[in-house]
Amino acid sequence: MSYVADPESSILPLELRGIARAFGRRSILRGVDLRVGRGEIVGLMGANGAGKTTLFSIIAGLLCADGGTCRFADTDLEAGAVAIRARLAYVAHGPQLYPLLTARENLELAAQLRDAAGASSREAGGMLERLGLAAHADRRIEAFSRGMAQRASLARALAAAPELMLLDEPLTALDRDGQALVAEIMREERDRGAGIVLCSHDLETVLSVSDRVVLLEHGVISGEVRARECVDLHEYRRLVTNLGTVVSTRRVGAVRQMA
């Protein structure tokens, strides 16, 4: 399934073509085509095990693709150079912070490491305050709740002022206020010009923040809806659900033909 690129995005931070990945004999990704423009939030939806995290790992350089190309700002991501890594941020499902360090120290370490690589960062304290952790900045991560660690992890990613953000289920552990806050921050980042890929299987949250929602199903992008095309949330949801099922029945047909 291919689609025309968003005409509003002049430069494409991220362009995936035919990304495939198998683990042993199980094919997880079967040719994912995805473009993420500047200043765009793309919601990536899919059931458990659809390959969302695998796709993110490939973009982040933790895994290699079996086939296809993954380009970021016109550079092949597989090169995995430090300069490229300085421009993207990946917030994984877990917090990935040092538990014995405080939130501030974790952010400062990341900033210093970036600084050594010649990349600038935003100020740690301000970022923690933005995510509502100002009072807890000097507490250790091990004393943090799951949601607070999630916020700290997001703060670290935001401090890098990345051009591309990959967010793997960033809202699940957060309370209502936190979710609203993160959604607001994501919009801010988008307006700054960052491309954001937001992955979740929770329809409601994805729909509320994304400009565009793509559906990852059976290892391919099987459908896409644009947020601006519809106004009514119910209508929108129906569309996404329908797209999913339509593609699924098609696929069954294809398998039958082969057999």
């Binding site: 990945r21 982040a60 350089g61 933790l62 895994l63 290699c64 693709a65 079996d66 086939g67 597989e78 995995g80 430090v82 300069a83 890594r85 300085a86 993207l88 941020a89 990946y90 994984a92 877990g94 917090p95 990935q96 912070l97 040092y98 538990p99 014995l100 360090l101 120290e105 370490l109 990341a110 210093q112 490491l113 970036r114 050594a116 690589a117 010649g118 990349a119 250790r140 991560i141």
Partner: protein, 238 residues
């Protein structure tokens, strides 16, 4: 320069965490002490003339055991919350991670040697030259630990990407580090006997360490991350 700075930052992070709970240092040092006591109990009646043959073994078996214990946990703080993945995604040179972890392992091992070497001197009269010729002992202990930790850090890192496969580490570690340990045994014995070739042996050991550390550093990235996936041989598929 960025490599050295990042390595320093990461090593400092390890140190900072260690200073908050002392887990690795305390357990490793106490473990060393336990092993030492076991050797003392097992070989309490060792004749003095046989001691010079046994002491090198006591020293390096202790280092090997403590080293395996330490290397099994040197990536634990990263593994707990998968901070290692965050480091691999961040603009951090992979070599800086290796260098920092090597430094951490070395520090712990040297700390253990500070316990075990004087301990041996106290318990076995034959170990006295270790203290008398302390500059040579210092160099010897440093070189022995460096070779061991150099190889060990590589495989500890490679195993840290999986979940809890630390039993494989000892399996890999002991046979692979045998050349270093054999050299260390020879050098220790020469030190005890005041052999004229001692410094030459230490020089060879240094060369061996350089070789092992360089090869380990070269392999580190490809053991941590997939470099390129196999392209499927199409013609065999059809």
């Amino acid at each position: 320069m960025s490599l050295l700075r990042q390595a320093f930052l990461l090593a400092r992070t390890d140190l900072r965490q260690e200073l908050r709970d002392f887990e690795m240092a305390v357990t490793a040092v106490f473990f060393t002490f336990t092993v030492l006591i076991m050797f003392v109990l097992a070989f309490a009646t060792l004749r003095p003339d046989a001691q010079s043959h046994a002491i090198p073994a006591f020293l390096w078996i202790t280092v090997a055991l403590t080293g395996a214990l330490t290397l099994g946990r040197v990536f634990d703080r990263e593994r707990e919350t998968d901070a290692l993945s965050a480091l691999l995604v961040a603009p951090v040179e992979r070599l800086a991670i290796y260098a920092a972890k090597l430094l951490t392992t070395m520090s712990v091992l040297l700390m253990c040697c500070i316990v075990v070497v004087p301990g041996l001197v106290v318990v076995f009269a034959g170990a006295r030259p270790l203290l008398d010729r302390w500059p040579a002992s210092l160099v010897l202990v440093f070189l022995g630990c460096l070779g061991y930790a150099g190889v060990g850090t590589l495989f500890a890192g490679g195993l840290a990407r999986g979940r809890g496969k630390n039993v494989l580490l000892s399996l890999i570690l002991y046979p692979l580090t045998m050349p270093v340990l054999l050299y260390a045994l020879v050098a220790t014995q020469r030190l005890l006997e005041n052999h004229p070739d001692l410094w030459q042996t230490l020089l060879q050991m240094a060369a061996l360490d350089v070789l092992l550390v360089v090869v380990a550093a070269l392999l580190f990235e490809s053991l941590m991350l997939e470099s390129r996936r196999y392209s499927v041989p199409r013609k065999e598929v059809s």
